[in-house]
């Protein structure tokens, strides 16, 4: 908790989007086939598309939520 992680992953699906809040995405990390849910606040990115690959800086919130604080394409 509170640690910062870097996650390199490809966006597979947008599970939920709420304007002004952000999105819950299902991504597949490099070297894995399992999908993971991540939350990307709207302030971090507005235009995300399925299939794009990002390197995400994230923290693990309470309850195990992967909260993306910054990202960039790679």
């Amino acid at each position: 908790m509170g640690n910062r992680y870097v996650l390199r992953a490809q966006i597979k699906e947008q599970l939920k989007w709420e304007k002004g809040l952000g999105r819950v995405l299902a991504v597949v990390a490099e070297g894995s086939e399992a999908r993971l849910p991540v939350f990307v606040p709207e302030a971090v990115a507005e235009n995300l598309h399925v299939g794009q690959r990002y390197e995400m800086e994230a923290i693990i919130e309470e309850g195990g939520l992967i909260y993306v604080e910054a990202l960039r394409k790679y």
Partner: protein, 687 residues
């Protein structure tokens, strides 16, 4: 040439007419059913049973309240389904046979036609037998049957043959072409006493002989009267002469007195007056004698006329009587004697006009002895032809026709020896057939369908022209209708509609009283009623333990017991619906497993577990399937546990993992949606 109007109206009158009327009604009803225009009770067509049964089978009765009627449609039971709604399919399908009396009546009509061995020309309702437009008084049916059976049991005898020869001889002797002298007639008359010794004659020849003798005696008396009349006429002539002489003497005296008066009128007035009175008184007495003689002559003339008329009337009356009794030979014999005794101008019948009008309805002919002779000869000829027709039909194995014609012939020629041309073995065969038909008719009236079918087969062996298949078909239809009514009664009973159940049961009994299904229904109902008395306690115990399966398995008994319990009945319905749903899901799951859709099957079991996680059959199915879907189950369980722990992100990850295993999973889709919502709402709060 006999030109009498032949009018054999095949009446079996009222029965046939009534049957036709009922046919018309039946046809009309069938049309209404086909058009759907019947506003009253719906009477299904006979073949409608199959349709209704197919529909009824779709009900798939799993519960007391018809809840499973939906299950058969592949959907889920509606939790809010009311008993009324549940009744609809049962009513729609099961009430069709209501008022099945139509079928019962149709069968009886058929039975009346097929099993009635009476000839068409016999009308036992009106007690008349119609032959060529002539009505004979038919005795009561039982009496006729008795005489007919006696005939069928009897065998022709030599004595009867002798009698036939004797009667033929008498008729031949009376024929106008033969010697009709007084001596010949007397010889013929003596033969009547020989004929009367035969049993077959029934003493009727004696009656004929007496009539003839009576006529002869009256004729003899009439001759005696004629002699007296001649004597009286001679007396009258004498008296007339005396009276005439007295009148002449009186006239002479008066003339002499007148002459004497002119000479000495004053002295002899009183003396002349006395002489005149004396002559006048004697003449008056003679006049009285004459009048008396005249009266006696008139009285004798009247007596003579009356005596002759009486003899004639008695003769005529007996001829008519013989005709109405179908004693045609005796009518011919008596008519022969009548024609020999009375003059040709006395042939018109003066008596029995009312009876003859009834015998020959609608006829405005003048009835004569000759016309009676014609009818009698025609009847005898017709009996001859009828016997030939009966024998011909029998030879051609048309035994039913032979029996019908034989009855006509028998009734018309019951006292004629022509019937002896029917052989003994043929009579016995006809008797077997006759008794079989009567017995089958009685069984049909009692609605003993099994007995009717059995007899129909036997009758067919006796008469190949008997419509056996028609009978068997009608029996099967009637049985089916009764079964259907019992089925409807069961449905209504299970729905708690006792009145309708009773009505349907009554219909079933009316159609087929000995239907074994009725007994089964009654036994089942008794069992339910017994169980019903303990039903409340059982239900309360099971419900307290939430033993849904236990309640469901006793649903029939409990439903009967709680039919009027407004508090427990809805609870019972709810439980039955729940278990019915579990059963449906488990069954669908098994089907999916067979199709290789193990994950989909598991999802259905998960749905079932939500209804009652403790249900035995459902848990057994889960246990059997779990090894095949372990990876999927593992992720789902993890997701549920994470979700319960408030780790929504973890639950979401587990759902995603499970969805990767079974992408079309409904549980996963719903879980992902639900967990995502929770996550977003949490984040919103944080913001």
């Amino acid at each position: 040439m006999w030109k009498h109007y032949v009018n054999i109206s095949f009446s079996r009158s009222q029965i046939r007419k009534n049957s036709d009327a009922r046919d018309r009604i039946s046809r009309s009803r069938n049309r209404e059913i086909l058009d759907g225009s019947s506003s009253g009770v719906v009477y299904p067509k006979p073949h409608g049973f199959g349709y209704i049964m197919r529909s009824s089978l779709c009900i798939y009765v799993v519960g007391f309240f018809g809840v499973a009627s939906v299950s058969a449609q592949g959907g889920f039971p509606m939790s809010g389904q009311t008993p009324t709604a549940a009744q609809q399919p049962a009513q729609a399908n099961a009430s069709a046979p209501t008022g099945g009396m139509f079928e019962s009546n149709t069968f009886l009509e058929m039975a009346n036609r097929v099993f009635d061995p009476s000839s068409d020309s016999m009308d036992f309702e009106n007690g008349s037998f119609e032959w060529k437009g002539k009505n004979f008084n038919l005795s009561e049916q039982r009496a006729f049957r008795s005489r007919f059976e006696r005939f069928l049991l009897a065998s022709p005898t030599e004595e009867e043959e002798q009698y036939a020869h004797l009667m033929a001889d008498i008729l031949e002797r009376l024929s106008v072409s033969n010697n009709t002298s007084d001596d010949a007639i007397l010889d013929t008359w003596e033969l009547l006493f020989r004929a009367s010794r035969f049993d077959l004659d029934g003493g009727n020849s004696t009656i004929v002989a007496n009539q003839v003798f009576n006529a002869w005696r009256i004729r003899k008396e009439s001759r005696g009267v004629s002699m007296t009349q001649r004597e009286l006429q001679q007396v009258r002539q004498y008296q007339q002469e005396v009276v005439a002489n007295r009148a002449m003497s009186l006239q002479n005296i008066r003339e002499r007195r007148l002459r004497e008066t002119s000479a000495g009128q004053r002295d002899d007035g009183e003396a002349s007056s006395d002489g005149t009175e004396s002559v006048t008184s004697e003449a008056a007495y003679r006049m009285l004698d004459l009048a008396e003689t005249e009266a006696r002559i008139i009285a004798l003339e009247t007596q003579s006329a009356m005596t002759g008329l009486q003899a004639k009337l008695q003769f005529q009356s007996q001829i008519v009587s013989f005709m109405l009794q179908r004693r045609f030979e005796h009518a011919l014999v008596l008519a022969g004697f009548y024609q020999a005794i009375f003059k040709g101008s006395h042939q018109s019948l003066e008596v029995g006009k009312d009876q003859l009008q009834e015998f020959l309805p609608g006829s405005d002919l003048a009835f004569t002895v000759d016309s009676m002779t014609f009818i009698a000869r025609e009847a005898i000829n017709d009996v001859n032809k009828g016997v030939e027709a009966v024998n011909a039909a029998y030879k051609e194995d048309r035994n039913l026709i032979a029996l019908e014609r034989l009855q006509e012939v028998f009734f018309l020629g019951e006292y004629l020896t022509e019937l002896n041309k029917i052989p003994t073995d043929q009579r016995r065969h006809m008797l077997d057939l006759y008794r079989g038909l009567i017995e089958a008719g009685e069984l049909a009236q009692a609605k003993d369908y099994d007995g009717v079918s059995e007899l129909a087969v036997k009758i067919y062996k006796l008469a190949e022209d008997f419509p056996k298949n028609r009978v068997l078909s009608s029996v099967e239809t009637a049985k089916s209708m009764s079964d259907m009514a019992v089925f409807a009664a069961s449905q209504y009973r299970n729905l708690g509609d006792i009145d309708k159940a009773r009505s349907e049961l009554q219909t079933a009994i009316n159609i087929w009283p000995s239907n074994p299904s009725i007994r089964e229904f009654q036994q089942e109902t008794t069992k339910l009623a017994t169980a019903g008395s303990q039903g409340v306690q059982i239900f309360d115990d099971l419900y307290k333990r939430m033993d849904r399966r236990g309640i469901y398995e006793r649903r029939m008994d409990l439903g009967f017991a709680l039919a009027e319990d407004t508090q427990r009945r809805p609870l019972l319905m709810e439980v039955v619906e729940q278990v019915a749903r579990i059963d449906l899901l488990v069954n669908q799951s098994k089907e999916l497993v067979k199709q290789g859709e193990a994950y989909a099957a598991w999802e259905l079991l998960v749905e079932a577990a939500k209804v009652d996680p403790s249900d035995g059959p459902m848990n057994q199915a889960r246990a059997e399937l779990a090894p095949r879907v372990a990876d999927f189950v593992l992720q789902l369980d993890l997701a549920e546990r994470q979700s319960e722990a408030g780790h929504n992100a973890g639950a979401l990850a587990a759902y995603l993992a499970a969805q990767d295993i079974y992408p079309v999973s409904r549980l996963c889709r719903q879980g992902i949606q639900r967990e995502t919502e929770v996550l977003m709402s949490g984040l919103r709060v944080q913001e």
